[in-house]
């Protein structure tokens, strides 16, 4: 039997999708290790305790709540110290978190503080006796690596979307704990947050992504991508590196080997030729649609459904058709 600790990521006072995915991964790991408990740490401003119910409904047995006004923004040093303290006290087999922006930062800190081996950006976890192995797509998704992590505890960060959140209803015990380091004493101080597109889901969480490339011909035509995303209702907007390099879109929208790596249910590539660097960021999407005027563009080699044509003509027609399809059911 082995208990597993989760860092449950939040934004504002809401859970992020990856938090429940981390709980699902932890639940699987605990069950496979002879049926231990899953405990979660949440840290945030006043009101954050309200997420405990949802964590319980998805498989957490206990929730440790760290509430502090200075935790309104992810305060990494204080949170790392608090989670590491809890992990040391509890004798956990593993600490599980999401491989999100927060988790990329927190995971290595926890590994160093706990002197624990870390498996980062993991898509599968398996346990066999004392051995824990994980799958991790390396080489920008081009080589699948199976890694053995020896020792206990281990730190595992899970790729967003790789583990499905699952109802596993319990009523989680909650316990309030103090931050192990003063969150107001942060050395790295956030002076300003420059918000990206408002009202859209994040690229890592969106079930649908509409992405645009140079085939749109001009920055102002990017509104066709926005309008198609609006028609889907739940879509995020992405771009190729050429487009972000040209300043049509912010760097944070870039999908590709050196940008975000995404795996939505549906990826619509608009005016994207499909350079290797871009494919590395989206080829694990479930369904890929490509619209491009060049029938020999490499994007058509990975597209489940391709339309050869002028994006300025095809995309508005698709936007209208998607709106119509969604309004009839």
């Amino acid at each position: 039997m082995a208990n597993v600790l989760v860092f449950a990521e939040t934004r504002g006072t809401a859970l992020r999708k990856v938090a429940l995915e981390a709980v699902a991964a932890a639940r699987g790991l605990a069950d496979a290790s002879g049926g231990g408990e899953v405990h979660a740490v949440v840290a945030g401003p006043s009101g954050i305790a309200s997420v405990a119910e949802s964590l319980g409904a998805h498989g957490a047995d206990a929730v440790f709540v760290v509430e502090h006004a200075s935790l309104a923004d992810f305060e990494r040093e204080s949170i790392a110290a608090t989670v590491a303290d809890k992990a040391k006290q509890g004798g956990y087999r593993a600490v599980v978190l999401g491989f999100s922006t927060q988790g990329r930062d927190l995971g290595p800190r926890l590994a160093a503080k706990l002197d624990a081996p870390i498996g980062a950006d993991v898509t599968e976890i398996s346990v066999s006796g004392d051995a824990l192995t994980v799958k991790h797509p390396g080489y920008a998704n081009k080589v699948a690596l199976t890694l053995t992590l020896s020792g206990s505890p281990v730190v595992v960060s899970v790729r967003p979307g790789a583990f499905a959140a699952k109802a596993s209803p319990r009523t989680a015990r909650t316990e309030r704990i103090q931050p192990a380091a003063d969150p107001a004493a942060a050395r790295v101080v956030v002076k300003q947050v420059v918000e990206g597109a408002k009202g859209r889901p994040d690229l890592g969480e969106a079930p649908v992504i509409v992405a645009g490339g140079r085939g749109l011909k001009a920055a102002e035509n990017f509104k066709l991508v926005e309008e198609l995303a609006d028609a889907f209702g739940n879509a995020a907007v992405g771009a190729t590196r050429a487009v972000t390099d040209d300043g049509w879109r912010p760097h944070s929208d870039q999908i590709g080997q050196t940008g975000r790596q995404v795996s939505p249910q549906l990826y619509v590539a608009v005016g994207i030729s499909g350079a290797i660097q871009h494919l590395a960021g989206m080829r694990t999407s479930k369904t890929i649609v490509a619209i491009n005027k060049d029938k020999d563009a490499p994007i058509f080699k990975v597209a489940d459904y391709g339309i050869v044509g002028d994006v300025l003509e095809v995309v508005p027609a698709l936007t209208t058709a998607v709106k119509a399809a969604r309004s009839t059911h």
């Binding site: 080489y139 053995t148 944070s252 597209a303 027609a317 698709l318």
Partner: protein
Amino acid sequence: MGAPAVKIAVCIKRTPDSESRFKIASSGIAIDEAGLKFDIDDFAGYAVEAALQINEKSGGGETVVVAVGPDAVQESLRKAMSMGADRAVQLKVDAVPADGLAVAKALAAELKDGGFDLILFGKHAFDTSAGVVGTATAELLGLPCVTAVSQLDVAAGRGSARRELEGAAELVEFPLPAVVTIDEGVARPRYPSLKGIMAAKKKPLESKPAQLGAVRVTVQKAELPPERPAGRIIGEGAAAVPELVRLLQNEAKVL
């Protein structure tokens, strides 16, 4: 000039060209390196450039490049010196392990008494694609750490940086010394000049064993991911839109 001189360490990794077609080695636990081109990892290249620009602006300081790796990594260290780094340190291993914390321990042991104001990394390396080493090194050294930085400035013992987040960017300030991991966005790495290449031959490259400690993350298997089924073109122009919508609804069931 005016800005005080800054002593910077840049930790680099040597990785294969990311545009390569990979094959699995007969061992089944690594890629086949035959025929691959290796170079300074992309993000580490940006980190070298960021360091050189900071020191050029201050008109002094020192840039030291450090790498854990087998002797082949000396080529990458020389290249960084031909771009303008002042000296290099190889922490020698037979092969770089998949254990990011072990690599971080070797780097932290080397850097801790180096008197560096700034320690730069790429935000992650192409091969492991894990992003562990920079942040873990910061933690081991007890230094503030700022990750995924696309703009970096240093003045009067403090750093300021722009970080790219999910759907937003963040402007942060922090005291030096600090560890910073570099994303794209800083200027593209310069090409070494002929003069730089000649000068690099005379610059010091020190080689010593890496103090990795126990390696607890090992590759059990490396395999190529399943290929996507071949793509399919369903039609041309706006006339193909109704068929696309039908397929999205009935076949892919995503609409």
